[in-house]
Symmetry: C2
Subunit: 258 residues, 2 copies
DNA sequence: CGTTGAATTGATACTGGTCAATTCTAGTGG
DNA sequence: CCACTAGAATTGACCAGTATCAATTCAACG
């Protein structure tokens, strides 16, 4: 079966309103479920759970960034996603986790027993559509990632990543200052490249004036439109204007000359 | 949020029992929802819907195979999945489909109005977990595909594809005879390769006696264990035995030397 | 200020892509 | 029933984009 996102380009449906805001208003939301759980802290690099562990809990990211990855038996690593505040980890029907979750930055999480989570979801007509929406968003993101991995060049991949990172920010007027908390190795394993290729590509983007690194984990995006064009999936008209962030709900064409 | 499959290796949770069997028994199942809808036929190559179309319906595949794909604006195509009898297409919260669905073979479908589908799901405590299970399966399959696209070699990709195709069959005793209904171009666009590379890789597998083509769309798998090893994600012990199909629920390790 | 892992940069290798030429095969029509 | 045809698949020669290997350089932290 195939599902789609409630919002194009994977702005997560529920991420806009912070967990706190909803919980405070008493509106039933997925994160309000977790609100009473104690906050647990993980230092950067620490694993929340491992691929193969018994999947006993569902987690909500409260603060920080997680990486979620799978390893091939010879050590090749694939990061299937990064998780941000408001995201859930470990929702599943499987007895064991199918991936490892690690803290990229220091992370705060809330934990919920799996079976309790399931029964809460099952019995709440408010929560169910929200969970469903998150699944749809995640599926859409996975499909974008498949497009990236299957057909995009190194430059398109890096540009796509930076673009999505830029969109995650509350777009500061003009050029957004993007935080890249993860290492180049994380980026490489997420984009299906090597560190060297990621590094070279970013150097080239810098030389062309598209981005302007500010330390290793902060990047000023100087030409957002250019970045969007380089990323692939958008119509490549003017890259001169260099105005604000291209809106998320962009039009999609339905033409395919067979 | 991240979810996992109810069954490893993406044997779909609900696919085993045919739609008919369940519907006949009156057991509430996703496909029983569709059972009263008229069957629609699509000839090979016909589109069921296009990326960008208003997403007004959900479809159940009754017979045949669909390909689901997205196009980049310059024509690069990525097939994100193939759909088989029992699968649903078009489940979404989005107003428009995010991908095109086309018939690979002559296909029979049943159609269900989107809002009716949603309310049925919403009001049925039996159906909901089944839909959830399908979402989980699909998410797990998407993650496998990301691993394939991000890190596997051409040979590993082709081997993985043939292996999954072989597993879909009711494993005939000994060497399974695998049907590959799609063209090489479909395979290439699914595996992130070119037709030429797919072709060369299959030729090499044939020369090594791993597979034995029987026409262009049928393949006798002579060395299933070898194929499994070549596919990557399985421990590569003996490839001599060449006995039955490796079971789906294989063990996963949880080691990661950081 | 020194140390160490991360990142960058360079030289070279190799997998898979591109372009082009056959060869196959499933239809089609005589 | 069989030759013809057009698209699909295979094969080959060559090329390009990334990976690999190796050497610096950078920057965060003690």
């Amino acid at each position: 079966m195939y599902i789609e996102s409630a919002l194009s380009n994977h702005e997560p449906a529920l991420r806009r309103e912070t967990p706190e805001s909803l919980a405070a208003e008493g509106a039933p939301s997925l994160s309000s479920l977790f609100a009473r759980q104690p906050v647990e802290r993980f230092e950067a690099g620490a694993a929340v759970f491992w691929e193969g562990d018994t999947a006993a809990h569902v987690f909500e990211v409260v603060d920080g960034v997680l990486r979620v990855f799978r390893m091939m038996n010879d050590g090749r690593r694939v990061i299937t996603g990064f998780l941000y505040p408001g995201d859930l980890v470990g929702v599943s029907l499987e007895r064991h986790y199918l991936y490892t979750a690690e803290a990229v930055t220091p992370v705060k999480l809330r934990r919920f027993a799996r079976n309790r989570f399931q029964s809460e979801i099952h019995s709440s007509p408010e929560l169910r559509p929200q969970l469903f929406a998150q699944l749809c968003d995640e599926m859409a993101a996975a499909q974008d990632q498949m497009v990236l991995l299957a057909r995009k060049t190194a430059e398109e991949r890096v540009a796509s990543f930076l673009l999505v990172s830029a969109r995650r920010l509350k777009s500061v007027a003009g050029a957004p200052l993007v935080e890249i908390p993860m290492t180049r190795l994380d980026m490489a394993d997420y984009l299906g490249l090597t560190i060297e290729t990621v590094s070279r590509t970013m150097t080239r983007l810098t030389q062309r004036g598209v981005i302007e690194p500010n330390g290793r984990h902060t990047i000023l995006v100087r030409k957002l439109r250019t970045l969007a064009v380089l990323a692939g999936e958008c119509d490549e008209d003017d890259s001169s204007g260099e105005t604000g962030v291209p809106e998320a709900g962009a039009v999609r064409r339905a033409v395919w000359p067979h």
